[in-house]
């Protein structure tokens, strides 16, 4: 069965430092991977997705993610964190052939001033 894991419940990083939010997946076919961000009391907002092609995907707000097939990972990264990046981040994988997402449990990012 398809699945996605976010091993860290919370990540703390100082403002200006690089950040990484981890995601690993398990799928039977080609993975379609997504990252979303949720600010307090808001719906999820799309950041980026990997479908095919270049392993480094660039998205909104300066975020990027690297698809690594051998490690079955799709970590979210940003070179320089902002306090305003503090939010809940979700990784998702398409459930092969069903057109539906499977979401990770989320990682809370806290950027400290």
């Amino acid at each position: 069965a398809q699945s996605v894991a976010q091993p860290e419940d919370q990540v703390n990083v100082a403002e200006g430092n690089p950040l990484t939010v981890k995601c690993t997946y398990s799928v039977s076919g080609n993975p379609y991977l997504f990252w979303y961000v949720q600010y307090p009391n808001r719906g999820l907002q799309f950041l980026l997705k990997y479908i095919t092609g270049d392993n480094l995907v660039k998205g909104s707000y300066g975020f990027e993610a690297e698809f690594n097939k051998s490690q079955t990972s799709f970590h979210l990264k940003k070179p320089s964190a902002l306090v305003s990046d503090s939010a809940l981040y979700f990784c998702a994988v398409e459930d092969s052939g069903t057109y539906k997402y499977i979401f990770g449990t989320g990682t809370r990012l806290k950027v400290l001033a």
Binding site: G43, L44, F46, K49, Y99, K100, Y101, F103, T105, G106
Partner: protein
């Protein structure tokens, strides 16, 4: 502004009562989804619809029903609410219901069942 609207924003409901959460999109997307968000569990799919007139069950469909009479609306009904249905509910849509589609989310409905 194009997007998804949900109503109500929040609701407190007595157990056993019937409740319908409303969801409307104006993007003419074919596919729509209902998720519930619970602490530590992420988002779980309740029901979905790939196109008007069709619906399907997600991961946690029990106690919920949906209908898709037209493209724009996708209401979620709790026939007889129970406390375990206390959650935040999100409606989402995607253009074609394809594997590679981006899903767009509404602002959510916070439901408390007492």
């Amino acid at each position: 502004i194009a997007g998804i609207t949900q109503a109500p924003t929040s609701q407190i409901l007595a157990a056993g009562r019937r409740m319908t959460l409303r969801c409307t999109q104006d993007m003419r997307h074919n596919a729509m989804y209902w998720y519930r968000q619970d602490l530590g569990l992420g988002l779980r799919l309740i029901h979905y619809s790939n196109t008007a007139g069709t619906t399907g069950k997600g991961e946690v469909p029990d106690g919920y029903s949906v209908s898709r009479a037209n493209t724009d609306d996708f209401p979620l009904t709790l026939a007889s609410a129970v406390p375990s249905q206390t959650s935040v509910y999100f409606c989402a849509s995607s253009e074609a219901g394809l594997s590679t589609d981006t899903q767009y989310f509404g602002p959510g409905t916070r439901l408390t069942v007492l």
